[in-house]
């Protein structure tokens, strides 16, 4: 009992130190601001923020796999979509409560992360990107042309999980919890091993690490959180259809994580909110908006990664690691 008390007190004092620091203070302010959004009574804003929060979890799950384990996936929508479909199916056809449905949906996402991860073990870089994209495309095709779970129409008219404001706080809780957990994982010993595999897989092998097992673990953890976000997404829009598997969603994950900072986990918040707000801003332009967005992205990728994308990311990572003293 004594030991527990001691830990609690030291944690509290550490928290206080952090909260009073610049970064800690800003973070807390933003968090408080976030929690106050529903109280402004503006439902439209709340809805946008909900989407941003859900996609934050999605982007962070991608960041964990790509930035920390070095496996850059272009088909993350696969986990997102599978979980979404299973969640929707369980809510609609089995009448399960939403919490249980997400749990099962996430479970399926983890299974699929293994199914996709195992063949992708030997793939690196562009090949891995294409391989994961291929799996997502196949799922897209299957659900689009098949008759299972609603075909092109998908499943719709799912019950709400509460009023917008209740939903907001639920989503916020999921987001905060997910990010904290993911961050804890990458800061742990497991995270160190994953980073080693990312930096030098041969070296990790030579250091006695079973890279196969750990890569699969990374896939599963990433798939788990992608699955959570997929389930939440579907519950938010109260429907699911094959579009959830489209390459566009995989792209969202990549872009949000990249904007916010690869290998940061928390950067996904920045990326996701920026992106979501920007999309809303461009929404009045309808079809042109996505076109403008695609153009912008091409330009960003082309010019911000002039020559080599990695040194830029390296600088970010280096800085971040040095700040954190690792």
């Amino acid at each position: 009992m004594m030991k527990l008390q001691f830990d609690w007190r030291s944690r509290l004092s550490r928290f206080r130190v952090w909260a009073l620091s610049f970064r800690g203070g800003i973070t807390l302010l933003c968090l408080v601001g976030l929690l106050l959004v529903p109280l402004t009574g503006r439902e439209y804003l709340a809805r946008i923020v909900i989407t941003a929060m859900i996609l934050t979890i999605f982007a962070a799950s991608w960041d964990l796999l790509a930035g920390f384990a070095g496996q850059v996936s272009f088909g993350h929508a696969a986990f997102f979509g599978i979980s979404g479909y299973v969640t929707a199916a369980f809510v609609k056809f089995v009448g399960a409560p939403w919490f249980l449905a997400i749990f099962i949906g996430t479970g399926w996402a983890v299974v699929f992360s293994l199914l996709i991860g195992i063949p992708c073990l030997r793939l690196k870089g562009p090949y891995l990107a294409l391989g994961t994209l291929a799996f997502a495309l196949i799922l897209y095709n299957l659900f689009l042309t098949g008759t299972w779970l609603g075909g092109t129409e998908g499943i719709s008219a799912l019950p709400n999980i509460g009023s917008v404001f209740v939903e907001f706080y639920i989503m916020a809780a999921f987001m905060v919890a997910s990010l904290i957990i993911m961050r804890a994982i990458v800061d742990s010993r497991l995270g160190t091993i994953l980073k080693a595999i990312r930096d030098d897989e041969v070296g990790a092998d030579a250091a006695g690490i079973n890279t196969t097992v750990y890569k699969l673990v990374a896939f599963m953890v990433s798939g788990l959180f992608a699955g959570i976000s997929g389930g939440l997404f579907v519950l938010d829009i109260t429907a699911v259809n094959p579009a959830v598997y489209q390459p566009l969603y995989s792209f969202y994950a990549i872009i949000m994580a990249s904007i916010g900072g690869i290998a940061t986990i928390y950067g996904s918040i920045v990326g996701s909110f920026l992106f979501t707000l920007l999309s809303e801003f461009l929404r009045p332009l309808a079809a042109a908006s996505l076109l403008i967005f695609a153009t912008l992205l091409i330009l960003i990728i082309r010019f911000s990664e002039e020559g080599v994308m990695n040194p830029f990311l390296e600088h970010v990572r280096d800085l971040w690691d040095k700040i954190r003293g690792r």
Partner: protein, 259 residues
């Protein structure tokens, strides 16, 4: 203060820690390693010399599991490790360094070593002391503990080699394969590595190292085997091998210097 580590002597064939029999590796039309046979005695320091392209690194790749041989076998402590995965071999007690130094670029020096300590074999050896303590201790024994929190990018070449050896030590090896540990090093840096190897030898680690400048090996290594074009061409004390006619031809014939 923790010593480098404790060695457990495996019960195996009397005194032989490594037996290589008829090892052959072909890459397309090129036979890189050709029917190589030799033994390594527990606790000894063995050198492997040969001009560039003789097959030394390929031999190391085959022994450490990074390449699979076309034929032949490798036995470590009596256990057949031919064709096993590198991480499996490492966890049996055989670790290696690489000719082209590699490190985990975005991890601190301490973490570079921690990773190795987190291998199953490392955990078994250091679990009680704690991974961080063990990694610190190893880092100290290779003389890099003052830079523990910094990334490898700041290290000079010699220190990178020490880091690599440190990483290998993190897996608590009985047998250490060092691939060209002296290449590209200035004189004092070489001396540092030599001291490290001598220290490891005293602790009972078997060392098998390659080099193609014989001078460094002469004093350090009591026995040497020589390769040329994939074959073992000579074996014995360095002075003997250095004056061996076949060996001389191999080196001079290819225009290589000797010392």
């Amino acid at each position: 203060m923790y010593g480098i580590y404790g060695i457990r002597y495996e019960e195996g064939k009397m005194g032989l820690i490594l037996e290589v029999k008829n090892l052959t590796k072909k890459f397309g039309g090129l036979t890189a390693v050709n029917d190589v046979n030799f033994e390594v005695h527990r606790g000894e320091i063995l050198g492997l010399i040969g001009p560039n392209g003789a097959g030394k690194t390929t031999l190391f790749q085959l022994i450490s599991g990074f390449e699979k041989p076309n034929s032949g076998s490798v036995r470590f402590n009596g256990v057949d490790i031919t064709g096993k995965r590198p991480c499996q071999i490492v966890n049996l007690g055989l670790a290696r360094t690489f000719q082209l130094v590699r490190s985990f670029r975005f991890l601190s020096l301490l973490d570079n070593i921690s990773v190795a300590c987190l291998s199953p074999r490392g955990r078994e050896a250091f679990g009680e002391v704690g991974i961080d303590a063990a990694a610190s201790s190893i880092l100290a024994s290779v003389g890099l503990v003052d830079k523990a929190r910094l990334p490898p990018v700041i290290l000079p070449h010699g220190d990178l080699r020490k880091l690599e050896i440190g990483k290998a030590l993190g897996t608590n090896p009985e047998f250490l394969l060092l691939d060209e540990p002296f290449s590209g090093l200035a004189h004092e840096e070489s001396a540092g590595i030599t001291r490290l190897i001598e220290q490891l030898h005293e602790e009972g680690v078997t060392v098998f190292m390659t080099g193609h400048v014989l001078r460094e090996l002469m004093t350090l290594v009591p026995r040497v085997i020589a390769m040329h074009q994939g074959r073992l061409i000579a074996e014995g004390p360095p002075k003997e091998v250095a004056s061996n006619k076949i060996v001389l031809e191999a080196y001079l014939g290819r225009g290589e210097g000797f010392a």
